[in-house]
Amino acid sequence: MTLLAIEGVGRRFPNGTEALRDASLAIEPGDFVALLGPSGCGKSTLLRLIAGLDAPDTGALRWAGGAPGPGEIGFVFQDATLLPWATAEENVWLPLRLRGIPREAARADVRAALARVGLSGFEGARPRELSGGMRMRVSIARALVGRPRVLLLDEPFAALDEFTRHALQDDLLALWRGLSCTVVFVTHSIYEAAFLARRIVVMTPRPGRIATELASPLAPEHATRFTADYGALVREVTGVLRAAMVPAPSAAIDQP
């Protein structure tokens, strides 16, 4: 049964920009979907619509079992966006705290969430004492602590160095396998989408539309990076993206 049916959704901002047109997508329970496309293709807009942070002008989002309530969506932003004055533990506690769960009652869940992202022992650390990658781990722990129905990530690793990015991608896959939660991941990196996602949704800009969808045949694990199949998928996605981008100027420049 489909967890979320996105049906012909469109969104035009008050300034006249049409961010998204007639997007339809079905998200299954336990899916790992990557929304892939260049800047301005509406992928972040679509993610905000899924989160309920914004409402579509046309179309509808139909959730199995009703729209998610407070805390049922975990969201990871491009920056870690932690509270700078709070410790890692307090930052992860925040979503539970906002739902009225006292510190003591939340402690076991908070510690478990930090342990899951490999940050046991850093409970008392402030954001400024942590590296960029560790801050992002705290941010992921914060998104997971309330056991959300869906985990949404908006280019979370774009600002990290490549080693950290690879480590966090591996860890995200492990978390997804272990927690069997549904993940929607926005990225502009073909490599990242091909490595992480079970389904790659290719989007095109101005207005944002869903061009096509590819299923990944790859195993969700670290070793996949070194396989020929991974290379083949990257090439395939690149080709699809390029075909989708024609009449865009960059495609025209590439022609001999």
Binding site: A51, G52, L53, G69, P70, G71, I73, F75, F77, D79, T81, L83, P84, W85, T87, L94, P95, R97, L98, R99, R126, R128, E129, G146
Partner: protein
């Protein structure tokens, strides 16, 4: 205190005293540092009790400014209507020269202490208000989204996000307002003192001037600037201590 300003200050005092000795200028025109210290030692309680009176006005005004400034900053953050209603008046108050309206306030407000506090508050209010308002608006939109996603209302967002985010901004404003509260208190005392209200360092400065006790006038001035420097330094230390306790700065 670090050493360079202390050394520079002592050097300036020595040059000053040397110049006074060398030129033989009378003390009622320019007293040297030694004459000023002597004037202070001759009547320390008089000057110190005046200083205490000025400081009571200053800190009361600072406290009132904090309550009003933070309260109004919260109001304009919470409500568009309040922003439109309050902001222009706050700016109007900020650009009004206190010397011009102090006589009116002193005449309108019967109680002299309340009048002095009102004048000092008008001068000191704005930095706390505007800095806190900027701080309350400083959290990134992503954090506000996160609060929304977890069902946080306006009160929880204010308490757990906006107010803590505003703290460093508020402290910077408080530091500026501390100095301004003293300036406002002294200006108001000048106006009130000219009208016969005998209290505060400004009154001592006026009185010493009338009586040509210029060294005592300078002693009162020195006390005033020492108080200003101390308020600035203490509020700075207080702010850094508070932020360090939160693990920042």
């Amino acid at each position: 205190m670090s050493w360079p300003p202390a050394i520079a200050g002592l050097l300036a005092l020595a040059l000053w005293q040397g110049a006074v000795w060398a030129t033989g200028v009378p003390a009622y025109l320019v007293p040297g540092p030694i004459a000023i210290v002597r004037a202070f030692v001759a009547a320390p309680t008089l000057l110190l009790s005046s200083l205490a009176s000025t400081l009571v006005v200053t800190f009361t005004a600072l406290a009132v400014s904090t309550v009003l400034g933070v309260g109004m900053a919260v109001a304009i953050t919470a409500s568009r209507w309040a922003r439109a209603a309050i902001q222009p008046w706050a700016v109007a108050l900020q650009v009004t020269p206190i010397v011009a309206i102090a006589p009116l306030i002193i005449a309108w407000v019967g109680d002299p202490f309340a009048a002095l506090v009102a004048c000092a508050t008008i001068v000191a209010f704005f930095p706390i208000f505007s800095n806190t308002a900027i701080g309350l608006a400083s959290p990134p939109p992503e954090l506000l989204d996160l609060f929304r996603l977890n069902g946080a209302g306006g009160w929880a967002t204010l308490r757990l996000l906006r107010l803590p985010a505003a703290l460093p901004y508020f402290l910077a404003g408080l530091r500026v307002s501390g100095g301004l509260a003293l300036v406002g208190a002294v200006v108001a005392e000048f106006v009130a003192g000219a009208g016969g209200f005998a209290s505060g360092l400004a009154y001592r400065i006026l009185e010493s001037g009338y009586r040509l006790q210029i060294p005592r006038m300078f002693a009162a001035l020195m006390l005033l600037s020492a108080a200003g420097i101390s308020i600035h330094a203490v509020l700075g230390l207080f702010g850094r201590w508070l932020l360090r306790r939160r693990g920042e700065a």
